[in-house]
Symmetry: C4
């Protein structure tokens, strides 16, 4: 799948899953140790409209929403963070336990490692073991779905691995491109996806990972049978920035690191939410640069259904993990409760008693700054 | 009234009024010692239009306006600052004496303490004692009006306490929310207010305290029988910022201090003045981020009737108080005269001889910066 | 004429012209020693449109324009700087000699001192003595024209003092206001001006000094019989800033120095040029924040006829004055030549062979930044 | 041709080509040693629209375009850098070899030196010797074409010198103006060009060098028979800035260096591409401030055909030259490959499989910042 003519092959692949494992740990640690966030966060350009007399009681605000066929306590998703490594197992156990305790959605990282190396399966399976009730979102990459050898059975394996309620196909073109051996051939995607779609019983969502959807593709994917979108626009963690920190740039080949040059590439999350909602009425999870419960409220006002967070939960889970013996999940639970309290506070301060009444309401916000220009082309 | 299920109860309430008293002193001192002002002040985005040949004499400019049934020398209001503490009494005495000397409006802080603890009554009563003639605005909180045990008699007590010309119901939802034991249940507000409205002989205004009115609620309150608005938009003191300095954030419960997260929440004062004037012809006091007499002129050009100042007068009164023996009010009087001189200068430089001729005149100003975008949604 | 009720009287007036003299020297020195320029210069928001193939020869570009009944070599005016002091005489001699050598316009400072104290006459008269041919603009203040004792004879004296080609009535309301004893009563202005207008044979222009004309007044003055405008908008020297440096602020009376509070008051020069041209076809001198010959070209493209400079020529004359013995005027001549060369370069780079072809041409420039918003209200 | 009346003649011209030679070396070294780039680069205000699922293989993307009658591997041009000096010969040899190896376009610097001094011919000839196949663009200045003694034979000599595929007439009015002895008389340009046009068999393009085309002239040149445009707008190297570094400013004559005053003069490259495309369907090379292959893609989306780079290739060739013995061209080849990889990456991330499908597509980008205002006049 690698476009070998144009892309370097730095080393042989003696132990593919070992290498993937190492990379997975780097992907966890780099965002914790370096600033790999996009330089602009357009959520600051959105202002929600205050309502001075909330006529609902704070505790009566109903944050619960339906996520496909399950009810969750609040429109919050722990976005796909990791999987496929002993440390990933620890992280996933913490996240899943906390999500179960708080009844929110959790996604796992790419399940490819679990399929390719059964020894890594438990880093995924642990999530369902400790979280029997919540919606779990499985995760497979566009590279695998586009593979000539792709089999629906592998997709089914992913579902079964965690008894997934929903599957996400992550679209990480830029990330694959700037990695040293990325999967960047997606010609078979439509054909393979159609087979998948026909045979799969669970809903499938299209998941961007930091570069966002445009309107045209959102419409295409809606028609192709996707059941929703995780927009993953720019504003949060930049995978290109992560790759530029991994220092695998081949200075012999290029004068500039592609990962640096494309660091800020992408459609900002608020713009992408609006783009998708313009053409589709299906589920939208807004991910990419959300930092607080206020950002969930802003996303929903723009048209999203759910707010997704990876970076915040990576931070909380890492803290919980340091206290391994006690099997603590307190930091992560606290983060979820903080988001809920912030979101509830927002709704109360806008006199909105349920999530639905905020969704896509143009009179609930104003747009300032550069975001104003993005939306006035 | 506290939403106990969602909000912490750090300590028992052995001495409720003692606690309120301490808080009141913190509310006075924190703005004097820390920067708790909103980070953006949109008054800078308004430019008044200079007129090179004033054809009126400076001293002939008539700053006087009618405030309900009293005439005042200038459209200036000492906004609600304090009450309910021996130091508050000193402050209120200074402010009221100065207001009387200069014949402007004065508001007292929330009178709740005075009702709950007769020992604190004199901190309010002092204002009318030293200011027999000026309009005094009494002050009761939305929390009290919304209380199941609310009695019109308490409202009447407030009026009588200072022989109030006007009563303000302060709407401080955000402040209550981020305090540790805030009153955040306002379901009974409409019903109780209707009773109040029917039985009350004095005008009643709705007073925001730093987060501003939106158009929809302004229209509702106008129809509900309010006689005016003190817009209190964002731009000046942020009560959330004050609370974040009070360090009562429970780190065990949340990862982020709600008072920090909501520090900048709210509708900017100039926007809120325009919103309210768009839907109501009733009195508007513009408060929140006014710093000079130029800002009074800007507010009036946008449609307000009066400019209100709390922070500036807190500063001046605190200076006067240091010189206790002499019973000095000179700093506060000087501040009032400075505002008058600045406002008069503005009017003169715009060739406007009375306040009415400036009010709501679109051709007297231009709007720049982000404020331009707020108003072009 | 001073509004004594509202303005302080710091000291008696033992020697009025002595005091004026001292002030005049401060007005010269403060801009040279402190930053008293407006904080924003909107000329930077204008971009002239480059033309890659000038089809005219550089030396064939005709910068000459007619200024009333005289021809000048370029649309450049040495704006009113000084008069009424021995040092002013030196400065005026330098400026007038250089203007004569380069055949451009020169204005003198307020001639009031010359009328009130014959001993100071020569500081004005020197200009015509050394510059027999160029257009000289005399200068009288709105305060004097508005005086109850105003006599047309005084105006005539001003003309005769320098054999003025044109008289300017300077409108310096803000400056007078923030000075300690300003003339701020202009009620008689219209009546007195009409007498003046009828009896005067020379053209009379209205001259703002840093706060600009609005549209409404420009139309009024056009109809009242003024023959042109020196717009003097904000962007250059702020007289309020000068006054705030003179430290005459009475801290006993006000909490803030009015000169500080109104430091940035005014309509920016480019905006004011457009305002005036919108309503009048008479002569416009653009003054206030012009720094180079490019700014002259920008002013003319916006609709002005002439570019005026005070600060640049104050700097050059001060340098020339240091070399007193040699009676050097070289710095000032060099500044004029620099402005001409820059203006000629601009015209050449826009393929414009004479000033008229640039005047008011909307297709020769674009407007960016905050200036864009000023003009889109 | 020099406008001697207005421009200084610092020294005699004992050895004209020697002087040109020295200047040429300064023109190479100054951009390498000082910051002489324009202060604003408007390419940052353009955002390309990401497409999450490229359905083409990376290696299948066809970057090749036709450049007049030759095919090149990618729309990349090494813009005119140098010629007429032994060091220029080295640089040109490196650039031409690399361009040949990568099959892209190369332009030579002004060929005037080669015509005037046969000893300098080889610095140009070397390009065709080492690059027999690629499109080479010859280069003659507007000053020479406009010369009264201009002969078509000289133009033919330029073509023959390098067997040029295309000739560029560079329009460097600002540069000539701020040089001490610039050619600034272009009155004969149209007449001479018509002769040239009729007799020349190769296509001729009009080349700006950092100040950009306006719409009006672009239309004129299209009709006059030019076959294309090298827009050379502002954003990259400022020749005025180079001249200000050369320290030939005559302080005795002017108070400000014209090269400093006009440092930022010009139309930004993205604006100029749009201006030209608005009125002409002919070839456009976008030069001026392009830094990466992303900027090529942006230029093409705006309507250009080719992206040109001088500064980047000056840097790469200078590095190659340091390694003279090895006759290395590796840095330059690497730069070309980097640009190609970045451009290909862009196309892939936009799901565009050939250059034509991106060209002038308004739905492929958004415009932010000040560029938004340039385009909304």
């Amino acid at each position: 799948m690698t476009s070998s003519k144009y892309r370097e092959e730095k080393m042989p692949k003696p132990n593919d899953s070992k290498e993937i494992m190492d990379r997975k740990i780097e992907h966890l640690k780099i965002p914790l140790e370096y600033d790999v966030q996009h330089s602009k966060n357009y959520f600051n350009d959105i202002k929600l409209i205050h309502h001075p007399i909330p006529e609902i009681d704070f505790e009566d605000i109903d944050l619960s929403v339906k996520f496909f066929n399950k009810n969750i306590s609040a429109p919050i998703c722990i976005s796909a963070i990791t999987g496929g490594h002993p440390i990933s197992k620890e992280i996933n156990e913490i996240l899943a336990k906390a999500a179960e305790e708080e009844n929110i959605i959790m996604s796992v990282g790419s399940q490819r490692a679990g399929i390719e190396d059964p020894a890594l399966l438990d880093s995924f399976k642990i999530t369902r073991e400790v979280a029997p009730n919540i919606p779990l979102i499985g995760n497979i990459g566009i590279g695998q779905v586009s593979d000539a050898n792709f089999e629906v059975a592998n997709f089914t394996k992913c579902i079964e691995m965690i008894n997934a309620d929903v599957m996400a196909v992550h679209l990480n073109a830029l990330h694959e491109l700037v990695q040293d051996k990325g999967d960047i051939s997606y010609k078979l995607f439509r054909v393979n996806f159609k087979n998948l779609r026909e045979s799969s019983k669970v809903p499938i969502i299209a998941k961007e990972v930091g570069t966002g959807f445009n309107e045209e593709l959102a419409l295409t994917l809606d028609k192709l049978g996707f059941d929703g979108f995780d927009v993953g626009g720019s504003g949060g963690t930049s995978f290109a920035a992560i790759e530029s920190k991994r220092n695998h740039f081949n200075k012999q080949k290029y004068t500039r690191d592609p990962a640096e040059v494309f660091r800020e590439w992408g459609i900002p999350t608020p713009v992408s939410v609006i783009y998708v909602r313009n053409v589709s009425q299906k589920l939208i999870i807004a991910t990419g640069g959300l930092r607080t419960g206020i950002d969930i409220a802003k996303s929903i006002a723009l048209g999203a259904d759910i707010g997704g967070f990876a970076y915040k939960f990576l931070q909380s889970a890492w803290k919980d993990r340091k206290d391994r013996k006690s099997k603590s999940i307190s930091h992560t639970v606290k983060e979820i409760r903080t988001l809920k309290n912030e979101l509830r506070s927002c709704l109360w301060l806008m006199n909105v008693d349920k999530i639905d009444k905020l969704k896509g309401k143009r009179n609930k916000y104003v747009i300032l700054g550069e975001l104003f220009k993005w939306l006035h082309q």
